[in-house]
């Protein structure tokens, strides 16, 4: 188990932000990065193209300090959303402890959301991970757009949240819902600590 190392008393959680292209994964990380006190944030690595699209992935290490005797680290990753970067997505997904699926709330992006969710499931399965068991939360981003362009959280729940995982409406640029999402996934990932050791 990579999550907890009892020998070195370290806990490392790898959380991957997944979702279709332009749904706001990198924006989530940027917002978090902006809120992290200097001494706790590592250097955010962002490999982006000229047009600001994530080519490889973003990586944001968070040092949470010593909690209950364990040095706790969170590693936040994003995957490139574009369809043709699937190899990178698989790579990033390796060893993930939890997944945040950032959906684009725009009505016309619904198909892309579904496609990306299916892609997530396939890529997890390739690593022998059941998409039903890995901690997952959904984020419905861009809820600030005009209401005639977007689906409401309830509609999105209906359309893509068929596993009934926690979902959060968000507006990542302004930061609404970003930390709620992060807290929810962290809790779910950490809860698995005890479950995994029982199995």
């Amino acid at each position: 188990m990579s999550l907890v190392n009892f020998t070195t008393r370290e806990i490392t959680c790898k959380i991957v932000y997944y979702g279709p292209g332009r749904s706001g994964k990198t924006t989530n990380l940027h917002y978090i990065y902006g809120r992290v006190p200097d001494d706790r944030r590592g250097r955010m690595v962002s490999l982006a193209t000229h047009t600001d699209r994530t080519l490889f992935f973003d990586f944001l290490p968070l040092e949470l300090g010593t909690i209950s005797g364990f040095t706790t680290r969170f590693q936040l990753y994003t995957v490139p959303g574009q369809v043709y970067y699937n190899a990178t997505r698989k790579l990033v997904l390796q060893g993930a402890d939890g997944v945040v699926f950032v959906a684009d709330s725009q009505a016309r992006q619904l198909d892309e959301n579904i496609e990306s969710l299916q892609n997530l499931q396939v890529n997890l399965l390739e690593q022998g991970i059941d998409a039903r068991t890995i901690p997952t939360v959904l984020q419905y981003n861009k809820q600030d757009l005009p209401s005639d362009l977007i689906l409401t959280p309830a509609e999105l729940d209906e359309a893509i949240n068929f596993r009934s995982v926690p979902s959060f409406p968000a507006e990542a640029v302004g930061g609404t819902g970003v930390f709620e999402t992060l807290r929810a996934i962290s809790e779910r990932v950490l809860r698995r600590l005890s479950e995994e050791r029982e199995s």
Binding site: F6, T7, G34, R35, T66, S68, L190, S194, R197
Partner: protein, 656 residues
């Protein structure tokens, strides 16, 4: 002596910065739900960084959240003084009772525990009481627990078992925020550059910072005019080191660090992570505690598990639990074996301490080595050599049944018959057949050996070992039980052995020279038990059996069998097979000494002519006359006489 909480020491008045964010988040969590998240909460920092402030803020918030919460704040010094006073007054119980209703114990400056063992012991008891009752303990210190000199390990582990957080010196932004807030509180207005300049001084503590501010305030008040940055500079930097201005790092310039007033999302995030993690680790600790309690209840020392809990060992908990379980299983095996080997030592503490498994192994090994298996049956006698006849039909059948299904049908099997009819042969044949079974440990010995062994054990005071030696046998076969007549102690031991073996369906076989009821000097308890099995008589050999034995003996000794000679010998009266063998032996010896071939005439001459003395019955009690060594060899065929007969009655038979 208990100090009231300082009204201004609240969370609102506490300036949060990067250096104390975790501590504040933890403190808030604790204040909101005392006793659940981090217990105890141990806050340490250098002096003057707000430990006491934070601690009192917890007290304030806790009473706000739940007004009934009873908060007790005291410094360690006060705690110690009160304790000593109580002890001096003989009221130490009252001292403890004073804290019974306290929900939140705030203990300041515990670094004074250093080198005070007695106080540490009392505090440990206190902390334990609080933790067990789910009541919150918060401690502050100027150093981490493991750096308090000579602090009891148990206290260190108790402190580390909750949450240990530190607070660093404030960085520039925090210093500036503190200065602004304090200036506001005092109603003072400074030019922005003035406070910037003060915040730029790399102070070690907030107190020092406030000291600088006080000087500015005093200076400004005295001079009745706004102090200029330059004046502040002169006032302050004249004494301190050159200003060390820390430029706030901004790696992404367009996303400035949040202002202190904004809701601290990151702190909340850490708080969430912290409490979730604490719950999970608590679940983990709980499981270990349960395991420890379980094994302790089972009588095994869970030291190893407790060590894990106290964080003294940093290994994977599951593997520790697994190894522990495995070791306990092994200890159980060893103990069970020890019960067989040496009951007296089976209760030894080593069998209940997995950490002393190696010792237990050694102890059992020694016991095993020091304990020879009970004497076994001789391989010289087998069922194949036993000649069946009407006279022994029942006994042979029963013996074969017993050999096939030990302990199932005839238990005990008692073979009864006069001397020399083959009882011993049959007994050993059964023993030999039973030994073939895997794991069988057949004790097969004469009553005399049994007696000798017992006497030796009594002499050497090794009765437990002696008993275990026989009690672990899978079958117990005793020849000539009647020899134990009058030997009360032997009968007593045999009686207990008999019962133990019978209860566990282990086969018992005895030989007797007379039916049980006719035994004299044997305990009635034994007699009735013998009768409870199958008493199989073996009669003196009939002619048919005698003839068969003679034919076999002649074939073995001289090669060819003279039918007339065999018939002649078979017609001779003989009460036992041994006397039949004796006849053949005498004839063969005579033939050898006279250098003649064996014949009827020679036999007649030898047996009926001079030198032949009719056999007279001896008055002594006689054994089967055969001494069998456990290795299977037959040492002597000479009769062994227990009650020495009248010399006139002695008959010396041929010795082969």
């Amino acid at each position: 002596m208990t100090v009231d909480l300082h009204p201004r020491f609240t969370f609102e008045a506490f300036v949060v910065g990067a250096s104390n964010r975790l501590a504040v988040a933890a403190a808030r969590t604790v204040a909101e739900s005392p006793g659940t998240a981090y217990n105890p909460l141990f806050i340490y920092s250098a002096s003057g960084l707000g430990k006491t402030h934070l601690m009192m803020a917890i007290g304030h918030l806790a009473t706000q959240v739940s007004p009934r919460t009873v908060v007790e704040y005291l410094t360690l010094e006060e705690f110690v003084e009160a304790y000593h006073a109580a002890v001096a007054a003989g009221q130490s119980e009252a001292f403890r009772n004073r804290f019974i209703g306290v929900d939140l114990l705030l203990l300041d400056d515990v670094q004074f525990l250093a080198d005070r063992r007695e106080t540490q012991a009392e505090l440990l008891r206190f902390v334990n009481t609080f933790l067990e009752a789910g009541r919150q303990v918060i401690l502050t210190c100027d150093r981490p627990p493991n750096e308090i000199a000579d602090l009891d390990e148990r206290l260190i582990s108790r402190f580390a078992g909750g949450l240990v957080v530190d607070m660093g010196a404030p960085e520039f932004e925090t210093r500036l925020a503190i200065l602004k807030r304090k200036a506001d509180e005092r109603g003072m207005v400074f030019q922005p550059a003035v406070l910037d300049a003060v915040a730029g001084i790399d102070v070690r503590s907030v107190r020092e910072l406030l000291g600088l501010l006080n000087r500015l305030i005093a200076f400004q008040a005295v001079n009745e005019g706004e102090i200029t940055p330059e004046a502040a500079h002169t006032l302050l930097f004249g004494e301190t080191a050159a200003p060390k201005r820390e430029a706030p790092e901004a790696e992404i310039p367009d996303q400035a660090p949040p202002a202190a007033a904004a809701p601290d999302e990151f702190a909340q995030f850490i708080s969430t992570v912290g409490s979730t993690l604490a719950q999970q680790l608590e679940a983990w600790r709980m499981r270990l505690r349960e395991a420890a309690v379980f094994w302790e209840g089972q009588g095994y020392r869970p030291r190893r598990i407790l060590a894990l809990l106290e964080g003294e060992e940093s290994v994977e908990s599951e593997s520790v639990l697994e190894t522990f379980e495995r070791d306990v299983d092994r200890l159980r095996e060893l103990e069970a074996e020890m019960v067989q080997l040496d009951t007296g030592r089976a209760g030894d503490a080593v069998f209940h301490d997995p950490d002393r498994l190696a010792e237990a192994e050694t102890m059992v090994r020694n016991a095993r080595d020091g304990l020879a298996p009970p004497p076994g049956p001789s391989a010289a006698w087998a069922f194949e050599d036993f000649i069946a006849a009407d006279s022994n039909k029942l006994a042979l059948k029963a013996a074969r049944t017993v050999a096939e299904k030990p302990g199932a049908l005839y238990n005990p099997l008692v073979l009864v018959g006069p001397t020399g009819v083959g009882k011993t042969h049959l007994l050993h044949a059964v023993g030999h057949a039973l030994s073939a079974a895997p794991g069988a440990l057949v004790a097969c010995l004469s009553a005399q050996d049994f007696l000798d062994d017992l006497v030796q054990a009594i002499e050497r005071e090794r009765m437990d070992a002696w008993r275990s030696r026989f009690r672990r046998a899978s079958a117990f076969l005793l020849d000539d039980l009647h020899l134990l007549a009058g030997k009360e102690r032997s009968q007593e031991e045999l009686f207990h052995l008999f019962n133990i073996l019978l209860e566990t369906d282990r086969q018992l076989v005895f030989t007797l020279n007379a039916p049980p009821k006719q035994l004299v000097g044997v305990d009635q308890r034994l007699i009735t038990r013998l009768e409870g099995g199958l008493v199989a008589p073996i009669a003196p050999p009939d002619r048919e059996l005698r003839l068969a034995v003679i034919v076999r003996e002649l074939a073995e000794r001289v090669g060819d069998v003279d039918d007339a000679l065999a018939a002649y010998l078979a017609d001779r009266p003989a009460e036992s097979l041994r006397s039949v063998q004796g006849l053949v032996q005498r004839v063969v010896s005579a033939a050898e000494s006279q250098n003649e071939s064996v014949s009827v005439s020679l036999a007649r001459e030898t047996l009926e002519g001079t030198g032949y003395a009719p056999r007279r019955a001896s008055t002594g009690m006689r054994t089967s006359g055969i001494v069998v060594s456990p290795s299977g060899g037959i040492r002597s065929r000479e009769k062994v006489v227990w009650t020495w007969p009248n010399p006139a009655d002695r008959v010396i038979e041929e010795v082969g």
